[in-house]
């Protein structure tokens, strides 16, 4: 017959249990690690995850190959002198990066947006809540698990960004910054998903809401910026630019001089609404990627990459008409904005506020003993 051996230590009724304490921080982190391990183990044992990873690898590879093939076939019609030809590297890099970001934004909600309420449906959430784990630790564990799982997809796509680097013009710094920013964007989306999944009752609902939130960041910010810009009309004082032909052209140097009488110029005050544009994940990533050197003449050969273009566009918008309109306030302004003051911290900061806010609300929703329950749910 089997019997239960009672545990040796039963502390007195007024003492909190004496666990294997070492550091206060370690005590807080350890349950997070347990939840993380619990989630990862489940994920690594599901075959669907590997299938998705395989599909991802094949699709990213195909995109890389097609970008390279497309560049090759366009070379037959290129006027660029072969010596100055930068190669397909930056094109492949930009296409793969944009593609990976797109798929990251699509995949991350799938891993995060049912993290908490999926457990609630399966009856496993309350089993965790009954233990000594705190709601904060639970939310952190779920977030880290979904983030790590999403990062696996990023790691899979890293070799294709490296191909972009090897085929010219891109440096290791480009690839590192790109991977870092993609990882950060994944974290933002995962945090949004986990927060919403703790707040919403049903997994289907929270997944849809998370996708809509991501869509709001990607598309909604553009729409909001456009509509906002229509409302943000204003006038500035400017005089007349005088464009004179210059043989040597560097993009950062102005190509005109200002003269004549000042008059009121009707402009769109994009600087008032461009913070919405800054929240766009594509803007955040594009703006963080280091620019090529534009200080020397004739360096616009090969054109501006579209990531650089996105970043420039957003910087023009946030700089506003005062800083970009020729001869606003009689000043000359460069045609190209340097990367000295980056824009992405603003956008990322706003994203973190949203994601962090959702995580905090989600943590509140998991507090026990629970006072309020979502309609139509049971705790267990």
């Amino acid at each position: 017959m089997t019997t239960i051996n009672p545990l040796p230590a039963d502390p007195g009724p007024d003492v909190s249990p004496a666990p294997d304490t070492s550091l206060p921080a370690g005590n807080y982190l350890r349950p997070i690690g347990v939840v993380l391990m619990l989630e990862l183990r489940q994920r690594l044992r599901s075959r669907g995850w590997y299938i998705m990873l395989g599909i991802w690898l094949v699709v990213t590879g195909a995109v890389t190959f097609l970008s390279w093939a497309g560049w090759n076939s366009s070379q037959n019609y290129s006027y660029i002198v072969p010596d100055q030809n930068p190669g397909p590297g930056s094109l492949i890099f930009e296409i793969v990066l944009a593609f990976v970001l797109l798929f990251a934004l699509l995949v991350a909600p799938a891993f995060s947006a049912n993290a908490v309420n999926g457990d609630r449906s399966a009856g496993t959430l309350a089993i965790l809540q009954i233990t000594l784990i705190t709601p904060g630790q639970l939310v952190w564990g779920k977030f880290l698990a979904s983030w790590l799982v999403s990062l696996a997809f990023l790691v899979t796509s890293a070799p294709f960004l490296l191909i972009g680097m090897l085929l010219g013009r891109m440096t290791a710094a480009h690839v590192l910054v790109a991977l870092l920013m993609l990882a950060v964007e994944l974290a933002v989306v995962c945090a949004i998903g986990v927060g919403i999944s703790a707040l919403a009752t049903r997994p289907l609902f929270s997944i849809v809401v998370t996708y809509l939130t991501v869509a709001a960041l990607v598309v909604g910010t553009l729409i909001a910026f456009g509509l906002g810009a229509m409302l943000a009309q204003g006038t500035i004082r400017a005089n007349t630019p005088d464009y004179s032909y210059s043989e040597v052209y560097t993009p950062e140097e102005p190509r005109y001089t200002c003269s004549g009488d000042f008059y009121d110029l009707h402009v769109t005050r994009t600087d008032q609404v461009a913070w919405m544009l800054a929240m766009n994940p594509y803007v955040v990533v594009a703006d963080a990627i280091p620019y090529p050197d534009r200080s020397q003449p004739n360096q616009m050969i090969g054109g501006m990459g579209f990531l650089e273009g996105i970043s420039q566009g957003a910087r023009w918008a946030i700089a506003g008409p005062e800083a970009t309109t020729p001869c606003a306030n009689g000043q000359v302004h460069p045609g190209y904005l340097r990367q000295t003051v980056p824009l992405w911290p603003l956008g990322l900061g706003l994203q973190v506020v949203i994601a962090g806010g959702l995580m905090v609300l989600g943590r509140q929703a998991l507090r026990t003993p629970a006072h309020r329950l979502p309609r139509g749910t049971r705790v267990a």
């Binding site: 089997t2 239960i4 051996n5 666990p19 294997d20 347990v34 009856g123 000594l132 784990i133 026990t368």
Partner: protein, 317 residues
């Protein structure tokens, strides 16, 4: 009304005491001013129809759900104020299964132990002991999705016991168990009570509880209707089913003694009647045998708790 079920005096702060518990869900009053006591060293049954508030009460006792009014004391500890200390002392087995399907039974128990901050060395032997206790040693390293419902129930019990809680809350623990596992569950629960733990069992299977429980709290429509010990339940009279080779002779003999009885439908020519005590039953059987009635069976028709339950239910409607 005092609803201390088992009359035995307890040391202050031992076991589980809930008083004046109310909880609404929107317009629905799930529990209204319910009192519940589960003394240490005893098995207390929580009995009531579906929707009576049993699961809600257990969730409140397990400190997962906050009551609107009332207080809960787990071994004298208020879980709202000292959640960690309270949770170290409560084990809860939910009525939903809730297993991580791709994890093995051993991994699940290990994870639970780590979340209770058990030291690694003690945890390993604890996990093995519990797997042996619930007879899952052979399946310990299989993914829990291959476990049958009854096996998952047993895993759930082991999970609730992992941190050796002083108070054990079991929501329908016997559902889905085969007869052998039920007997085993009964034995485990009796052992735990003998170790001095307060065990609370909610169930519909009343005959089962007769064997396990020391006391019962009956709830209906969110209120605790009655609390009684098994002894008290047994003493209040109980229905016996009697059958004889010659049913007519049996009926005549009972009528002759002025006893009220009814012919049970469905059963093969059995009659049933209410008897005040086991003494009465023994005396009647002796009389009938002495009167040369060929008795083929003479047994309680239902459990003692079932009798209370049915009479209570009749009062409510």
């Amino acid at each position: 009304m005092s609803t201390t079920a088992a009359g035995a005096p307890d040391a202050p702060g031992s076991g589980l005491v809930a008083s004046g518990i109310s909880r609404r869900f929107g317009e629905v009053r799930a529990i209204e001013h319910m009192d519940f006591t589960a003394p240490a060293g005893a098995v207390t049954a929580l009995i009531g129809p579906n929707g009576a508030g049993k699961t809600t009460l257990l969730l409140i006792l397990a400190s997962l759900l906050a009551p609107d009014t009332g207080t809960v004391r787990i071994m004298g500890i208020d879980p709202a104020e000292h959640p960690t200390a309270a949770r170290m002392r409560v084990g809860w087995m939910p009525d939903t299964l809730g297993v991580w399907e791709s994890l093995t039974a051993r991994e699940i128990l290990r994870i639970m132990g780590r979340l209770y901050r058990m030291p690694a060395a003690a945890l390993e032997s604890r996990v093995s002991d519990l797997l042996a206790l619930v007879n899952l040693e052979g399946l310990a390293n299989q993914p829990s999705r291959v476990l049958s419902r009854g096996q998952q129930q047993r895993l759930s019990l082991a999970r609730a016991l992992i941190h050796d809680p002083a108070v054990l809350l079991l929501d329908e623990p016997a559902s889905g168990l085969d007869p052998g596992s039920r007997i085993q569950l009964r034995r485990i629960l009796r052992e735990l009570a003998a170790e001095g733990k307060a065990v609370v069992v909610s169930s519909h299977v009343l005959a089962e509880l007769d064997e396990i429980a020391d006391a019962a709290v009956f709830v209906n429509q969110g209120r605790s209707v009655l609390a009684q010990t098994i002894h008290a339940a047994a003493a209040q009279g109980r229905r016996y089913a009697i059958s004889a080779l010659d049913p007519a002779a049996l009926s005549a003999a009972l009528s002759f003694r002025g006893l009220q009885f009814r012919v049970e439908p469905g059963r093969r020519s059995a009659v049933s009647l209410l008897l005040g005590s086991e003494d009465d039953a023994a005396r009647l059987l002796k009389d009938l045998v002495a009167a040369d009635i060929a008795i083929t069976s003479f047994a309680p028709a239902g459990g003692a708790l079932e009798e209370t339950y049915l009479s209570m239910d009749a009062e409510q409607r």
